[in-house]
C-alpha cells in the first residue's frame, strides 16, 4: 500500500527525549523533501511529567497534526495506557521492552537501550527508534543515514554510532511482521523551505517589520519570543529588556511608542490581562504599539501548556470605557511571520495598540514553510509631524501626524479626555469628537485580505487562528465528498475586512470552529448581524479533522431541516 501521510506519536516522561526524537524525525523528513508538522504537549513542570510529541509526515502540505496515530512510540507504561486508544486500527505500538504491556496484537517491543549500547552509545536510543520507524513505512534507509551524516558532519564517531543505531532499529523491526505500507517518495516543494516554530516566525516577522523596542516578562508559551528578542534585538537604537511584571512591559512600550519607536511585548493570558489598563491608555492617547498574546488555556493561571482560543473577547475590550482594539490572529506558521508585519503596520497606520493573538498550538510546533517573501508585506511607518511648535496633535476627527520628542511639536499624550493640545478637558463636545476620532481611525484598517471559496453556498465555515488548519482540512474533505459549503478565512479579526463583512451578512449560516466554550468569535460576528454559530471545543487540544467533519456535517444537515440559530 502506498501512503501519502504518516503520523507518529512519541510519548513518555519529560526528559526521556520525546521532544528531541520528534524534532529529529521532523527535520530529517523535511530535509529529504516531505512536509512535516509537529505537535507537543506537556505539563507545566520542568523535568518529568507525561509528555508527548506528534509528528506528521506527508508528501503534501500538512494542515493539521493528524487525528489518528499510525505509530505510537511508548517509552513507559503510563504513556502506553494513555495513548493506545488513539492508535488507528491498523497502526502499530512500538514500546520499550524495559516494561511489559498487556497482550496486544499490533505491538512491537524494541529493546531500545540494548540496541543503542550495541551501536556503541546509549545516547543513540532515538536513532534505534527512528530506524525501526523507517522500516515500518518502508522508507529508504538513506533518508535518515544521509541526514545523520550531514547533521553530524566532521564528527565521525557520532555519525558512526548513530548510523549503526538506525540500522539496528531497522533490522529489529524487520524481524516482526509489522508493516504500514510504503510512504511515497517525497515531492520536494518548490523553492527554499525553512523548518520553524510559530514563535520564531513571529519574532523574525517583528524584526522584519522594524521592531526596535521590546520589553517582556517570562510566561509560557510566549517566553521564546522574549528570549529571541533578548538575544537578537540589540545594537544601537534597539532595546530588549526583562520587565518586573507585565504592567511594566506594557507601560514601557507605550513610553517607547510615544518616543517614536516600533515597540512590542509578548505575553500569554495572565500577563495580557495585567496589561489591560495600559492598553486603554494607548488607545486613549493614540500611541502605536504591538502586544502579542500567545493564548494558552484559561482563565486565571489556567492551563499554561495547553492550547485554547479563549482570549478573543478580552483582546477586543481589555479595559473599561469605549474602545475596541484591532486584533490580528495568524492561523498558520507562515502567517505568524506575516501577521507580525501587519500588526506593526496597523499600529503605525492608525496610531494605537494592536493585539496579535497567537496560540500555544502554533507557538510550539515546528513546520516546514516556504522561505518568507520579504517583499510581500512592506513595512509601514507612522506619519510624523515635521512642522513648528504649537501643533494641535489631536485636532479634528481624523488621524493626524504624530510629533516625536526631540523635534518641535511638543504636546501632552493624555489618558484623560483631552482637547486638541492633549490637555485635559471635560467638555461634552470634546468627548464626542475624540471618541469618534478614535473609532474613526479603525476605518484605516478595513482593507485586510481574506480567503473566500465556494461563495455561492448560503452556508460557510469560517475558522479563525490556529483552527484554520484542521478547519481547512475538514472543509476540503467535505467538498470532496460533494457537500456545498463556502470557505472564509481572515487573520484580520477586528476590524474585519469591509468586503468580507458584507459577504458574511449574506449567508444563512456561518459556522465558526473555535477552541473555547463561549463561542467568542461567532458571538462577535452576531453583534454585526451575521448569522454565525460556533462549533466549540475546550479540551486544551486542537480540533481533530474527523470530529470537525462530523460536527459540520451535522450542523449543515440541521440547517437543511430548518433548524434556526439561537
Amino acid at each position: 500500500m502506498e501512503r501519502r501521510d504518516f503520523v507518529v506519536r512519541f510519548a513518555g516522561e519529560g526528559g526521556q527525549g520525546v521532544v528531541t526524537a520528534a524534532e529529529f524525525l521532523a527535520r530529517a523528513a523535511a530535509t529529504v523533501g516531505y512536509h512535516v508538522m509537529t505537535f507537543a504537549t506537556f505539563p507545566s513542570q520542568i523535568k518529568g511529567g507525561p509528555t508527548y510529541t506528534q509528528v506528521r509526515i506527508s508528501t503534501d502540505p500538512v494542515l493539521s497534526s493528524g487525528d489518528e496515530i499510525d505509530v505510537l512510540v511508548a517509552l513507559n507504561l503510563e504513556a502506553y495506557n494513555n495513548h493506545k486508544a488513539e492508535v488507528r486500527e491498523d497502526g502499530v505500538v512500538m514500546y520499550d521492552t524495559v516494561f511489559e504491556i498487556d497482550a496486544e496484537t499490533r505491538a512491537l517491543g524494541v529493546p531500545i537501550e540494548v540496541l543503542a549500547k550495541e551501536a556503541g552509545e546509549a545516547r543513540s536510543a532515538n536513532m534505534v527508534i527512528l530506524g525501526a520507524l523507517a522500516h515500518l513505512v518502508n522508507m529508504p534507509k538513506e533518508y535518515f543515514q544521509d541526514f545523520v551524516a550531514e547533521r553530524f558532519k566532521g564528527r565521525d564517531k557520532v555519525v558512526d554510532f548513530n548510523t549503526k543505531a538506525l540500522e539496528l532499529g531497522r533490522l529489529h523491526a524487520a524481524t516482526s511482521e509489522f508493516q504500514l505500507g510504503s510512504l511515497m517518495a517525497p515531492i520536494r516543494p518548490e523553492g527554499k523551505q525553512i523548518l520553524i516554530k510559530g514563535n520564531d516566525a513571529l519574532s523574525i516577522g517583528a524584526l522584519q517589520a522594524g521592531v526596535d523596542y521590546y520589553v517582556g516578562y517570562p510566561i509560557s508559551p510566549a517566553t521564546p519570543i522574549f528570549i529571541f528578542m533578548e538575544k537578537n534585538l540589540v545594537g544601537p537604537g534597539r532595546f530588549a529588556y526583562q520587565a518586573t511584571s507585565e504592567i511594566e512591559s506594557i507601560t514601557a512600550i507605550i513610553g517607547a511608542g510615544y518616543a517614536g519607536k516600533k515597540a512590542m511585548t509578548a505575553t500569554a493570558g495572565p500577563g495580557f490581562t495585567l496589561m489591560s489598563e495600559g492598553l486603554g491608555l494607548a488607545w486613549m492617547a493614540e500611541i502605536p504599539c504591538v502586544v502579542v498574546d500567545v493564548q494558552r488555556g484559561g482563565p486565571a493561571t489556567g492551563l499554561p501548556t495547553k492550547t485554547e482560543q479563549s482570549d478573543f473577547q478580552t483582546a477586543l475590550h481589555p479595559a473599561h470605557g469605549d474602545s475596541k482594539l484591532p486584533v490580528i490572529a495568524p492561523g498558520t506558521i507562515e502567517e505568524c511571520f506575516y501577521s507580525a508585519i501587519h500588526a506593526f503596520n496597523w499600529a503605525e497606520r492608525y496610531q494605537g495598540p494592536v493585539i496579535l493573538l497567537s496560540e500555544h498550538m502554533m507557538a510550539e510546533r515546528s513546520q516546514n514553510i516556504p522561505m518568507p517573501d520579504l517583499d510581500l508585506v512592506p513595512p509601514e511607518t507612522r506619519e510624523t509631524y515635521t512642522g513648528d511648535n504649537g501643533y494641535l496633535r489631536y485636532d479634528g476627527a481624523e488621524l493626524s501626524a504624530m510629533p516625536i520628542p526631540g523635534s518641535p511639536g511638543a504636546y501632552v499624550a493624555n489618558g484623560s479626555e483631552h482637547d486638541s493640545y492633549g490637555d485635559t478637558t471635560h467638555l461634552a463636545e470634546r468627548h464626542v469628537q475624540m471618541t469618534e476620532r478614535r473609532f474613526g481611525k479603525l476605518k484605516l484598517l478595513e482593507d485586510g485580505h481574506y480567503e473566500s471559496e465556494g461563495t455561492d453556498s448560503p452556508i460557510a465555515i469560517m475558522p479563525w487562528g490556529g483552527s484554520k488548519g484542521p478547519g481547512r482540512e475538514a472543509w476540503e474533505a467535505l467538498i470532496a465528498s460533494g457537500q456545498s459549503i463556502g470557505w472564509y478565512y481572515t487573520m484580520f479579526l477586528h476590524p474585519l475586512p469591509a468586503k468580507l463583512l458584507e459577504e458574511l451578512l449574506q449567508k444563512e449560516l456561518v459556522i465558526v470552529p473555535e477552541l473555547n466554550y463561549l463561542g467568542q468569535f461567532s458571538s462577535y460576528l452576531r453583534t454585526y448581524g451575521i448569522r454565525a454559530e460556533s462549533i466549540t471545543q475546550y479540551t486544551g487540544l486542537p480540533f481533530k479533522v474527523s470530529v470537525l467533519e462530523e460536527r459540520i456535517t451535522k450542523r449543515v444537515e440541521a440547517h437543511g431541516r430548518g433548524v434556526v440559530r439561537v
Binding site: 525553512i194 537578537n232 532595546f239 511594566e248 507601560t251 511648535n389
Partner: protein, 290 residues
C-alpha cells in the same frame, strides 16, 4: 499651556505647594536648555495622576516640553520606555506621594537597580489631594483623614530612607516654598547620570496644610521642621545619608549622590554593544533553512 489654551481649566487650590514646584521646574528646564544648548522639546515630562500630575499641563514657559499624562502609578515604567527608547532625551517624572509611593511603589526599586537615567520630582503632601483627602503612604501613623476616621493604622513611610535603601543613586529633599533652591537641586539631579529623586514637601493647603509645621511659627512657638543639610555633609557617604533620612526634621538639599554612577543605557553601550554582531532578517531566516 493654560496661557495658550482656554479650554483647559484645571486650577490648583490657592496656596497649594505645587505652584512652587512648577515654577522651580520651569526654571530648571530653561536653565538646562541654556546651559546645554538643547531645545526645550528635548525634555519629556511623565506625570502621575493626582493634583500634582497636572503640573504637566500647567507648565507655562515660552516653549513647552513633551508630556505624558497617563494612568495612576505608572510614571516610572513609562519613563523607562521613553528613556531607553531615546537615551538622548531628558526625562522628568512628576508625581504625587500617592501615585509614586502607593500604587506606583513597585517601580522604584527596579529603576534603582537599573540606574535609569531620569529625574523624579515627588510632590509629597501626605494625602491624596485629587480624590479629596485620603490617607497616603507618607501620612503619619494615627493621622485622621476621611479614609482613616479612627486614625491611620500603619506606620508612615519614610520616603528618603526607602529611596536610599533600594539604591537610588541621587536622593534629595526639598521644599516647595523655596523654588529657587529647588530649581538648583533639579538641575543637579538632571545632570546626575542615573536615577535621581527629589522628594519635595509640597503642602496640600486644603487637606493637610503642613506649612506651619515645616516653616515653624515664632508666634506659636513652633520650631521649623525644615533645615538645610549642613555644608559638611558628604553626599557620597551612603551611611551618613541614611542617618539624615532617619533623623527627625525635614532636610533640604542632597542627601546622597553615588560617585561613580553608570546609568542603564551606558551599561548597555559599554557591555552589550561590543559583544554583539547584529544579524539581518535574511541571516536569521537562513538559520532555519532545511
Amino acid at each position: 499651556m493654560s496661557a495658550k489654551n482656554p479650554e483647559y481649566d484645571f486650577k490648583w487650590c490657592p496656596g497649594c505647594g505645587d505652584f512652587g514646584v512648577r515654577r522651580a521646574l520651569e526654571w530648571a528646564v530653561e536653565e538646562r536648555g541654556e546651559r546645554t544648548g538643547e531645545p526645550i522639546y528635548n525634555n519629556v515630562i511623565v506625570a502621575g495622576i493626582g493634583c500634582s500630575g497636572n503640573l504637566v499641563h500647567l507648565y507655562e514657559g515660552e516653549q513647552q516640553p513633551y508630556g505624558i499624562h497617563g494612568i495612576h502609578g505608572r510614571t516610572l515604567p513609562i519613563a523607562l520606555g521613553v528613556k531607553m527608547g531615546r537615551p538622548d532625551l531628558n526625562v522628568i517624572v512628576v508625581a504625587g506621594d500617592g501615585d509614586f509611593l502607593s500604587i506606583g511603589q513597585e517601580h522604584i526599586a527596579p529603576q534603582a537597580a537599573r540606574n535609569l537615567d531620569i529625574t523624579c520630582v515627588i510632590m509629597d503632601n501626605g494625602v491624596y489631594g485629587l480624590t479629596k483627602g485620603q490617607s497616603s503612604p507618607t501620612g503619619e501613623q494615627n493621622m485622621v483623614t476621611n479614609s482613616t476616621p479612627y486614625g491611620k493604622l500603619e506606620v508612615g513611610l519614610n520616603p528618603l530612607q526607602f529611596f536610599l535603601s533600594v539604591g537610588v543613586s541621587f536622593v534629595a529633599s526639598a521644599f516647595s516654598g523655596k523654588p529657587r533652591d529647588m530649581a538648583k537641586l533639579m538641575g543637579q539631579a538632571m545632570d546626575h547620570p542615573g536615577f535621581s529623586i527629589i522628594n519635595v514637601q509640597s503642602p496640600c493647603t486644603t487637606y493637610n496644610d503642613t506649612f506651619e509645621m515645616l516653616k515653624g511659627s515664632k508666634n506659636k512657638g513652633i520650631e521649623p521642621a525644615l533645615y538645610d543639610i549642613p555644608e559638611d555633609h558628604d553626599p557620597t557617604d551612603w551611611n551618613a545619608a541614611l542617618e539624615i533620612a532617619r533623623a527627625d526634621g525635614v532636610p533640604v538639599g542632597i542627601l546622597y549622590q553615588e560617585q561613580y554612577s553608570q546609568p542603564l543605557h551606558q551599561r548597555i553601550i559599554d557591555t552589550i554593544h561590543p559583544q554583539f554582531q547584529a544579524k539581518t532578517v535574511p541571516e536569521m531566516l537562513e538559520a532555519f533553512v532545511l
